[in-house]
């Protein structure tokens, strides 16, 4: 064993390992800083270059890099990663470190033991892209690495190094077919192998990975978000989806204002569910964003319940805060699918007087806005009248809705209202709430998403980061009511989405354009496939599995019986594969079948072939016995000998098989042969 492990690797083995490593590295490249990706691949390429040089110079000792240099490399890389990321213990820098280390390991492998180690390392590297994305595309990108792993393991298992080096191509075909044979077993185990109700460990996520809306809003934060095509969540509706103007997905509610930036209050429990006769029922699949809030249409009338097929699982996944935010216990690091009901409405009751106290505070700073509001308030003492006047003022003054507002320095609300008048939804919502609060009306900013695109291919709605929006709520007649100043300035934003409402010169993410170009179509089709993949494969958990078993009527059986059935199925498949091999080997190629059939026929005609006799000798014996068929027998002997023992190309092979078949067809039946035998 020791001797085997210490055996040096031959170039073919090193090449196979290198291909495996590169195949494992490539899918990860998109998640790494460019210098890490380039360096890791460079190191692997370096070894290939050394290998080529060894082959050219036929040196007795392979070129090698001293191990102290490699150790130095590793330390330098670790330091560089620390510098590049700002921290070291976390998912991203550690994956990057592994990426480079695997390359360095490849530089120094010498023995079979090193080779096995590198193969394991490469397979782990191949898994790491799933820390970032579990999309179907990611799965497909892993396929080359899986097949390459088979090739590398086969190369490592070769007993005699260098001896009878099998061609690379046949090794690839072999590995691919082995994996294909294993697929049904994997699929069966996927469906029936018992799953844990909770994962043993969570996916490591770095804090840098937060995305989407946050609990703060400063001028520019949402317009920055709007430049992203990334999917925030997907929704399937029971029944028709609401009209575009009603698609307000409520997220963080911001009540605290410091003159420039809005912040959310810590969530306080005690929100009351809305009641209504026609709730909208839908299921949301939320992308992990490392935040604690879930999104629901307007007024939630139920608490969100995790969706796992038809089994209603344990309790709600979030609670309703007083300001109607749905808040989970822990930040979301895995995709979550939940079922939710909402009432479409713009008004809801005030939960507590405490709420009003905070939301009616006089806004700090921005003296011009405060003065303006107070003057306006004196003319319009009624709340409704005042709010309507403010909205009218927004509409009549030359305000512009744009993704590229000018930079606002001190007193941003003042500057926006009276100087620049160019802004995005956060500017309008913020200025609107400031004007209301300055007039003594309790108001607050609500952020979330507005809109969403129906994917006709999957029948579901995609809500992207570019749909991020901010609007306002104010207390009118003792109830919170929604006001959207953006809708007054740019009504098309609400009706037609972002693209229809900003100037054409503004940079808008590709998929927010909403035109029916082929790129958009392809993208929607891909998104539909990915959505199904996620729904049916990634999210296939303990509960979904239980549901499936119930649908199949399997849950009545005790676990051991189910396991026995599964094992039997797996064994049956393995048996079928082996049997197919055995049949193929026994029947051989068509050549051997034809030849064996001929031997049986001639044996019945009175000329059996001894097992040791060669084809040419047998054919010539037959030609002596039946001289009238000498030409046919000559052709048979020649063709079979060529096929069996000759160097034949594929073209020649099929021609020879045809010749063999034709020559055999010429011969009469065994009985006729027997009658005409020449003795």
């Amino acid at each position: 064993m020791q001797a085997t492990a210490a055996r040096p690797l031959d170039p073919a083995q090193i090449r196979a390992l290198g291909v495996l490593l590169v195949a494992a590295q490539l899918p990860l490249v998109v998640h790494l800083p460019i210098w890490v990706a380039a360096f890791g691949l460079f190191v692997a390429g370096l070894r290939f270059a050394l290998l080529r040089r060894d082959g050219r110079l036929l040196r007795t000792r392979p070129a090698r890099i001293p191990s102290w240099a490699l150790a130095l490399f590793a330390v330098a890389i670790a330091l560089a990663l620390r510098k590049s990321y700002g921290y070291f213990v976390g998912r991203d820098p550690c994956v990057a470190f592994l990426f480079v280390l695997a390359g360095i390991k490849f530089l120094e492998i010498r023995t079979a033991r090193d080779g096995t180690l590198l193969a394991c390392l490469a397979m782990f590297v191949a898994l790491t892209p799933f820390f970032y994305s579990q999309s179907l595309l990611g799965g497909l990108a892993m396929l080359p690495a899986i097949v390459a792993a088979g090739v590398a393991l086969e190369a490592l298992a070769r007993r005699e190094p260098g001896a009878a080096d099998p061609s690379m191509r046949s090794a690839w075909t072999r590995s691919a077919s082995l994996i294909a044979q294993g697929l049904p077993i994997a699929a069966g185990l996927f469906l029936v192998f018992p799953r844990l109700a909770t994962p043993l460990w969570g996916l490591p996520a770095d804090h840098a990975a937060q995305s989407g809306l946050s609990d703060r809003m400063a001028p520019g934060s949402i317009s920055e978000l709007s430049l992203s095509d990334a999917v925030a969540f997907r929704v399937t509706f029971d029944g028709p989806p609401p009209r575009p103007a009603d698609r307000y997905w409520r997220g963080p509610v911001l009540s605290l204002f410091n003159g420039r930036e809005w912040r959310a209050l810590p969530p306080r429990p005690g929100g009351s569910l809305a009641r209504g006769d026609r709730p909208v029922r839908y299921a949301v699949t939320l992308e992990p964003d490392d935040h604690r809030w879930l999104f629901a249409l307007d007024l939630p009338s139920s608490l969100p319940v995790a969706d796992s097929g038809s089994v209603a699982s344990s309790g709600p996944v979030a609670s309703l805060a007083r300001d109607l935010q749905l808040v989970t216990r822990a930040p979301l690091t895995r995709p979550l699918r939940y079922v939710q009901e909402s009432i479409l409405g713009t008004r809801h009751p005030v939960a507590s007087a405490d709420e009003l106290r905070i939301d009616a505070r006089m806004p700090p700073g921005n003296p011009r806005a405060v003065t303006f509001a107070q003057a306006l308030r004196r003319e319009h003492p009624g709340d409704r009248d005042y709010i309507a006047t403010v909205l009218r003022w927004f509409r009549d003054q030359p305000f512009h809705y744009t993704l590229q507002p000018p930079l606002l320095e001190d007193h941003p609300v003042d500057a926006f209202l009276f100087d620049t008048r160019r802004g995005f939804c956060e500017h309008f919502a913020s200025a609107f709430v400031v004007l209301l609060r300055a007039a003594g009306i309790p108001a607050r900013v609500v952020t979330g998403y507005q809109g969403g695109e129906i994917n006709p291919r999957g029948g579901y709605m995609i809500v992207r980061q570019s749909d991020a929006h901010a609007w306002a709520e104010a207390v009118v007649d003792g109830q919170w009511q929604r006001f959207d100043p953006t809708a007054v300035v740019a009504p098309s934003r609400i009706e037609r989405g972002l693209y229809g409402s900003v100037p054409a010169s503004d940079p808008v993410p590709l998929f927010a354009r909403g035109d029916s170009g082929w790129i958009n179509n392809v993208q929607l089709a891909l998104d539909a496939i990915n959505y199904r993949w996620r729904r049916n494969v990634i999210e296939f958990d303990h509960d979904r599995q239980r549901t499936l078993w119930r649908n199949w009527g399997l849950d009545g059986f005790p676990a051991w019986q189910a396991a026995a059935v599964a094992m039997a199925a797996v064994l049956a498949w393995a048996g079928a594969v082996f049997a197919a091999f055995a049949v193929k080997r026994r029947r051989g190629e068509r050549t051997v079948r034809l030849w064996n059939a001929l031997c049986r026929r001639l044996a019945r005609a009175g000329l059996p072939r001894p097992a040791w006799e060669g084809p040419i000798a047998y054919a010539s014996r037959a030609a002596k016995r039946w001289p009238q068929f000498a030409i046919a027998f000559g052709a048979i002997g020649d063709a079979y000998a060529m096929l069996r023992f000759g160097p034949v190309s594929d073209d020649e092979r099929s021609a020879l098989v045809a010749t063999l078949a034709r020559a055999i067809e010429v011969l009469p039946s065994p009985a006729a042969l027997r009658a005409t035998a020449h003795t």
Binding site: P610, A611, W612, E613, G614, P615, I616, A617, A619, S620, A623, A630, F633, G634, G637, D638, A641, M642, R644, F645, G646, P647
Partner: protein
């Protein structure tokens, strides 16, 4: 004549057939031994002929050399033959005041070592070493033998008194061992009617020369051997060692003294390739292997061509084709 694949019209095959025809004019009724002798020469092996005197051994050797345009030497081995008589000797030349090497008969392309078992072991092994190394080291100087270099040794299996039979390890140096045997009736009649054949040797026209022969040897070495055929060779070797059930009964009869070595397997393949070249095929078929098997395996299995040949035939019939 058996039916051969269409590839028979290979130019090399035609020329080799012409060589065989030339030899057959002189050595009558011995087609298969002649073919095997030529096979052995093309496979770069050496030939052992076991037979009684007077069946045409030296005629065959001479005819072979003449038909191929090679230099020929005959050495009669006797009990007082010394290595120097064979290899050559350095003699002091008083005029040039230096030793001068006078090459012995082994410096010819075709050497007939007649009745090799009459010479003492020292002389025998000098020849066998030259066969193996294809060079002669004497007085601290190494001299290459001509290429091609082909030794035909003869051994009289009957008169063994006062002889030194070749040990088994030396027998292994010969690629093929054959018998010539008595001519059949018609050939003998022809022989008797035609009188002495020796003068006919003069009439043989050389069909080749040393460079051509070297080219043929290279061509033979590159003939295709299919994996299935390697399986067959392995099965034959295993059967000779008594591993295969079919050969066990033969071993129990005590005929085989030992199994075939891997070297025997290599020589079997080399001989089969040369045989296939003569037959005009671009690949070796089982028939080629079977044609040379008795000659390759006989003397290795039983120490004698005749006893070995019977055993080899039994082995062939015990091992099915793959």
């Amino acid at each position: 004549m058996t039916v051969r694949p269409a590839s028979q019209t290979l130019p090399t095959s035609r020329r080799l057939t012409a060589v065989l025809q030339q030899i057959a004019q002189v050595v009558v009724g011995k087609n298969e031994p002649i073919r095997l002798a030529l096979t052995c020469l093309i496979a770069r092996g050496h030939l052992l002929i076991e037979d009684i005197p007077g069946v045409g051994k030296s005629t065959l050797a001479q005819a072979l050399a003449a038909a191929l345009g090679l230099q020929y030497a005959r050495v009669q081995f006797t009990s007082d033959l010394l290595p120097a008589d064979l290899l050559g000797v350095s003699i002091f030349d008083s005029r040039s005041n230096a030793f001068r090497f006078h090459p012995g008969p082994v410096f010819r392309s075709v050497v007939l070592a007649d009745e090799i078992n009459r010479a003492p072991p020292k002389t025998q092994s000098a020849l066998l070493e030259a066969m193996e190394e294809r060079q002669v080291s004497q007085d601290g100087e190494t001299r290459l033998l001509p290429d091609p270099f082909f030794v035909i040794a003869t051994q009289n299996p009957v008169e063994q008194i006062g002889a030194y039979p070749l040990p088994e390890s030396q027998l292994d140096r010969f690629m093929l061992a054959i018998e010539l045997g008595y001519p059949d009736a018609s050939a003998e009649r022809d022989l008797l009617a035609g009188g002495d054949r020796r003068p006919r040797l003069e009439s043989i026209a050389a069909q080749a020369d040393a460079p051509t022969l070297r080219e043929w040897q290279r061509e033979a070495a590159s003939i295709h051997v299919a994996p299935a055929l390697l399986d067959y060779v392995q099965a034959l070797l295993a059967a000779s060692r008594g591993h295969a059930a079919g050969a066990r009964s033969e071993r129990l009869e005590g005929m085989a003294r030992r199994g075939l070595s891997p070297r025997a397997g290599l020589m079997l393949l080399a001989a089969a390739r040369a045989y296939a070249l003569i037959e005009g095929r671009a690949m070796v078929v089982p028939e080629d292997l079977q044609a040379v098997f008795a000659a390759v395996a006989g003397h290795r299995l039983a120490g004698g061509a005749r006893a070995g040949a019977a055993l080899a035939q039994a082995l062939l019939r015990a091992v099915p084709l793959p």
